[in-house]
């Protein structure tokens, strides 16, 4: 049974159609890459999966763990095991990273029927995971993403992902704004989380990220739907030929 099953999804924002019959099935443990040009609807798909309310789904369905995902609130989706790593992580002045992480992890654990972490145990866990992502412990005391570099923000996303133990991770252009060193750290962080029970949808513009996070399946998205799927060789083909041919096909 697939973990995520998107069927013929149509969606729009302010009357503008963005998704036009998108169908996608993700099995447990698989890494899917979605590539596509600007405006093809990649980020919209990630926001709709996470539950951002600016978008209106006009038809189609999404099931996740056999539940109707679209009927759930964003926090219920996160509790169930869906994680969106933002393309542009938001800055939250006045809320420290540690408070944010603890609140998120404990509210998710509580609702999953797991015990909440005691503060000392949680601090230890966070420090350990932060160290593996080269995150300075001082950063954890600072307000969430405030004054963080692009690389720090993306590493912070991966830290959150590691702590929330999701079943499906959607990475929305996680490579944007990263230099090659930061990209490697982030990719290693993601690769460490790969497991037979966890799936990934890696949304990206460029093949570069896929050299570090090697996908099982590559999809090409254009004009709001998936126009071609294949193995990792499809990414190489895209890098060589560009998106134009696929856009015409759509």
């Amino acid at each position: 049974m697939p973990l995520l099953e998107v069927k013929n999804l149509h969606a729009e924002i302010n009357g503008k159609k963005i998704l036009n019959g998108l169908t996608l099935s993700v099995e447990p443990g698989r890494v899917h890459a979605i590539m596509g040009p600007n405006g093809s609807g990649k980020s919209t798909l990630s926001y709709i999966l996470a539950g951002k309310k600016d978008y209106e789904v006009t038809s189609g369905s999404v099931s996740f763990l056999d539940r109707d995902l679209l009927a759930l609130s964003p926090d219920e989706r996160a509790t169930l095991g869906l994680f969106l790593a933002f393309q542009y992580p938001l800055e939250i002045p006045g809320v420290t990273t540690m408070t944010f992480l603890r609140t998120a992890v404990n509210s998710v654990r509580k609702r999953r029927g797991e015990s909440e972490f005691l503060t000392p145990d949680f601090l230890r866990l966070v420090r350990e995971k932060a160290a593996s992502l080269n995150i300075d412990p001082e950063m954890l005391k600072r307000a969430v993403n405030v004054g963080f570099s692009g690389g720090e923000k993306k590493r912070n996303e991966i830290l959150q992902m590691a702590l929330l133990e999701p079943k499906l991770c959607v990475l929305d252009e996680t490579d944007s704004g990263l230099d090659i060193d930061a990209l490697k750290i982030v990719a290693e962080g993601v690769n460490r989380l790969r497991s037979p029970n966890r799936s990934f949808i890696v949304i990206t513009h460029y093949q570069r990220l896929l050299n570090h996070i090697v996908p099982d399946i590559v999809h090409v998205m254009a004009k709001g739907r998936i126009v071609k799927s294949g193995g990792v060789e499809l990414a190489h083909e895209l890098e060589a030929k560009g998106y134009a041919a696929f856009e015409q096909a759509a």
């Binding site: 539950g51 309310k53 964003p74 926090d75 996160a78 933002f86 939250i92 002045p93 408070t99 609140t103």
Partner: protein, 443 residues
């Protein structure tokens, strides 16, 4: 000023005038104090309660809002004293408590023992009967224009506390003046206090206002604060009156040269509240800070009106007011910075921000600058807005439920101002109080 004197005419004004007349002969004090009361009484008889055509009171029309007059509160019985004790907002903190219940000083709840050298504390009632020298300092600070709340307070001047921190004295334990109302029926209280901080002295005073919910009592307080040269003084204020109370409060402050002063008023209480502050920079090179927070819900109306008078050169002032408005509440901030011709090199900045949690809440921000000097830096900014939906989505996407996400964002909004309280214990206690307010919102 467009103050138009009008004869006493509403029934509320008449009742207040009768109340003043009836107390006239009974209140203690020497000739000077009596004269002070008389002057205040006649100005009230002349001008009465303010209304919306008086600019400073435009948004708090007392003539419309004060429908009736509660009888003057009597001294509390033992039961009320017991109740009042439970109202202490900072029971865990080590503070020197000076407790007024229903406007009367209560020795058994207060701590006048082992006063540090250089610290004088007397109750106003006692000082008025024995002619203590500090009584001469009462009324030295005046409001710029006729102020009905202050006039009424002065006309009923009777009890409160007088504190003097002598030159060069550093008091280690903050002094906590508690105004508690603990009756089951509405009554009116008038408390008058004075704090004289000598040159080079250092200390913290916190004044709190508390009372039972559901009782339409009327609390009118006035505090004069004289801060000497080179002094370092922090004044924290918590207005957490009962939810049906009318709270009128005046704070008059004069600061001497090179002094450092901070004022942190926090408001969560009363049905109708008006807090008027006059802050005079009366010497050179003073650093002053005003950082306030208001947490309002239901039909609460809270008006903070601040006048900062930069009279001397080289002073800096920072004002930050954060207001959270839920339900049908109404928050008003009027802040006027006056820079006098002599006050060159003044650096004054005022910011007021309102966070609206409901479509029905109302936020009024009125910053004003009046600058008569030519080499100054002054600025003001005012914002009103709702919680940022994009930020909330980030919290939700991490599995944090909406109410909890809102609470974290609201907390961080008000904490920016509360965290400026310099005293650790008071800062923590007031941050906790803000969280209690938020917890009530969630339940």
């Amino acid at each position: 000023m467009n103050v138009e004197p009008h004869p006493i005419r509403t029934s509320t004004e008449q009742a207040l005038a009768i109340s003043i007349e009836s107390m006239r002969a009974k209140l203690p004090g020497n000739a000077a104090v009596k004269k002070l009361r008389e002057a205040a009484a006649s100005s009230f008889f002349e001008s009465g309660l303010p209304h919306r055509r008086i600019e400073e009171w435009k948004y708090t029309d007392l003539r419309a809002l004060m429908r009736d007059v509660a009888p003057l509160a009597s001294p509390p019985n033992p039961d009320a004293i017991k109740q009042a004790k439970k109202l202490d907002p900072f029971p865990e903190l080590k503070l020197r408590r000076l407790v007024l219940v229903n406007g009367t000083f209560i020795p058994e709840l207060s701590d006048l023992s082992a006063l540090e050298n250089g610290l004088t504390i007397v109750t106003l009632a006692r000082a008025l009967t024995n002619g203590h020298k500090l009584t001469h300092r009462i009324g030295e600070l005046k409001s710029e224009t006729y102020d009905a709340a202050l006039a009424l307070n002065t006309a009923f001047l009777n009890d409160g506390v007088l504190i003097e921190i002598a030159e060069g004295t550093q008091i280690s334990q903050p002094i906590h003046i508690v105004h508690a109302f603990a009756e089951k029926a509405p009554a009116a209280t008038y408390a008058r206090s004075l704090v004289v901080v000598g040159a080079n002295a250092k200390g913290t005073v916190v004044e709190s206002f508390v009372g039972a919910d559901g009782i339409a009592y009327q609390s009118n307080s006035a505090t004069e604060l004289q801060i000497g040269a080179e002094a370092q003084f922090d004044f924290v204020r918590l207005q957490a009156e009962g939810n049906a109370a009318i709270h009128l409060s005046t704070l008059l402050i004069d600061i001497g040269q090179n002094a450092k002063f901070s004022l942190n008023p926090i408001t969560t209480g009363a049905s109708i509240a008006r807090f008027s502050v006059s802050l005079r920079f009366g010497g050179k090179n003073i650093e002053g800070c005003f950082a306030g927070a208001n947490l309002l819900r239901a039909k609460q109306h809270a008006d903070t009106t601040l006048v900062i008078d930069h009279a001397m050169p080289g002073c800096s002032s920072r004002e930050l007011v954060k207001t959270v408005l839920d339900d049908d509440s109404r928050g008003i901030f009027q802040g006027r910075i006056v820079v006098k011709p002599d006050a060159q090199k003044t650096d004054a900045r005022m910011a007021t921000h309102a966070l609206m949690l409901s479509d029905k809440a109302e936020s009024i921000n009125k910053p004003e600058l009046e600058i008569f000097a030519d080499d100054v830096q002054c600025g003001h900014g005012a914002t009103s807005g709702a919680l940022d939906e994009n930020l909330l989505f980030y919290f939700l996407a991490r599995g944090i439920p909406r109410k909890e996400a809102e609470a974290l964002l609201i907390h961080s909004f008000v904490a920016e101002s509360i965290e400026m309280i310099l005293h650790d214990g008071l800062r923590e206690a007031l941050l906790e109080r803000a969280d209690d307010w938020l917890a009530r919102r969630q339940s």
